[in-house]
Amino acid sequence: MKPAASVLLLTTLTGFAYGLLTWLGLYVAAGAPPAARLLVLAGVGVGLILATLGLIASTLHLGRKERAWRAFSQWRSSWLSREGLAAVLTYPIALAFAWAQYRAPGSPAARSLGVVTALASLGTVYCTAMIYASLKPIRQWHNRHTAPDYLIYALYSGATLFALLHTLAFGTAALAATLAALGALCALIAKLAYWRHVDAQSPIASLASAIGLPKGTAARPLDAPHFTENFILREMGFQVARRHAAKLRRIALVVAFALPLIFSLLARLGTFPLASSALAVACAALGLLTERWLFFAQATHVSALYYGRAV
């Protein structure tokens, strides 16, 4: 599948944003110190700005941007519609949460709004993940890994951002850095498990079944319908050289997970906490963009079978 910049930015930025909002909500629900008033206010601001940037990026690939509002209407059947609604609903909830925590830190209202913010944020990420997980023609997405993985990456990347904001506010990353380090470890394991799963999958269909011939019939393309690329090949037939993919996987493992793990541990131990937690965020962002690029580039679509591609 073509790794379009708009969807890479959408899923990565909203991962950071809703992950951060989740941790802020849980932080207050678990009894954040009154001194964290400004941290929560600023954190919700950062989260909502990042989410907005991601959502704006997602509209860039639309053919008719001025009609984007119509996407809120089909929530009964469409995960994309549900994602849009959940994202919009999260704004007033998160703002009410930030306001409640600012006016009366640790009040029951602030705490319960914290839980609701966390649920709304995770719900939005889940809807995004289900857009991909529900697509039957793409075996690398339509599996049991996609939805939990998106939630794990959101919680992990949000934790690195939370640790950075905590360091900016209090000078130490404290528990937030431990969360980020644990998140990096979980995300690393989740990614390895995902790659192991998709590498071991067998093709969901063969060319014979795609053209209605009995299973096992040998079939190979003789003449293509057209001699230049069309929409289907550009959008669904994206190919990445295997050796490049292997190299990018190693880069993603190091930059997205291993380096942030080390930097988060350094921040936790108090070694240049600000620089360490900032580097953890920067590496996580770059690495997760690479990981997301691979999630698209290595996904194959059944329709490419008609053009003789392996899927």
Binding site: R67, R70, S73, S209, A218, P225, E235
Partner: protein, 246 residues
């Protein structure tokens, strides 16, 4: 409305039956489809870089040719590919705007291009690659089963069929109601063992494909193998063949 309509077993299922035995791969159906739909109610079907190096455009119908079989007994199968108007179309349910829909009365899957935002998700949801994006108007496009022909009462009744069916010189394309067991298309499917494409994915396509029949005429391989020509004569022939092949 992207929820699928409640359709009872008696609901009409208008669709195509395509005979892979008689299709000659001439692309006439694709060309007439393009011709009708670029001027019909569906509006212009765009072409990009028309006279350039990489011409491209939106087509509702694409004709592939495959070689099937092995051990020197292979055959050519020409394969027209277009929307199958599935009973379980994921392309409809993923649509966030309600632009994609399946008609309750005849099962035809359509796009309301006035509602489409061009997110392309429906094209990802279709395993048959039947939807193509219109870069000029920023919306998705697809086969309409020539909805502006099949119900047009100003046309003579015999012409009320999709453009691809009307033009096929090999009569490899048939149009009708696949829910009616007595229709010509249903009987063709029953007689010839019509199949669903990618049945394992569960989209339940309406259009059916009739598999190529077994060859009726026995043919013998025309090229003699190297082992058949032995001796000095054979060696001379080989030498001659080599010299002439230069």
């Amino acid at each position: 409305m992207t929820m699928l309509p409640q359709r009872g077993p008696e609901a009409r299922k208008m669709g195509l039956v395509i005979d892979l035995d008689t299709c000659v791969g001439c692309h006439a159906c694709a060309v007439n489809c393009k011709e009708w739909n670029t001027g019909g109610e569906a509006g212009i079907l765009p072409d990009y870089d028309k006279y350039g190096e990489k011409p491209d455009g939106v087509w509702f119908n694409r004709i592939h040719s495959y070689e099937t079989g092995s051990d020197g007994c292979s055959r050519t199968v020409n394969f027209p590919r277009s929307c199958l108007h599935c009973e379980n179309p994921l392309c409809v349910t993923v649509c966030p705007t309600g632009a994609s829909f399946k008609r309750a009365e005849d099962g035809i899957v359509l796009i309301d291009t006035d509602l489409c935002i061009g997110c392309k998700l429906c094209s990802w949801a279709c395993p048959y690659g039947a939807r193509e994006f219109d870069e000029d108007s920023g919306v998705m496009r697809k086969c309409t089963l020539c909805i502006d022909r099949i119900y047009d009462e100003s046309l003579p009744e015999a012409e009320r069929e999709p453009a691809c069916v009307a033009t096929c010189p090999a009569k490899a394309r048939h149009f009708g109601d696949l829910a009616d067991p007595h229709s010509k298309v249903s009987q063709l499917v029953a007689q010839r063992g019509g199949t669903d494409l990618l049945e394992e994915l569960g989209y339940r396509p309406t259009n059916k494909y009739l598999p190529p029949r077994r060859a009726q005429i026995q043919t013998t391989p025309r090229e003699t193998s190297g082992a058949a020509s032995q001796g000095i004569g054979g060696a001379l022939l080989k030498l001659l063949d080599k010299a002439l092949s230069r």
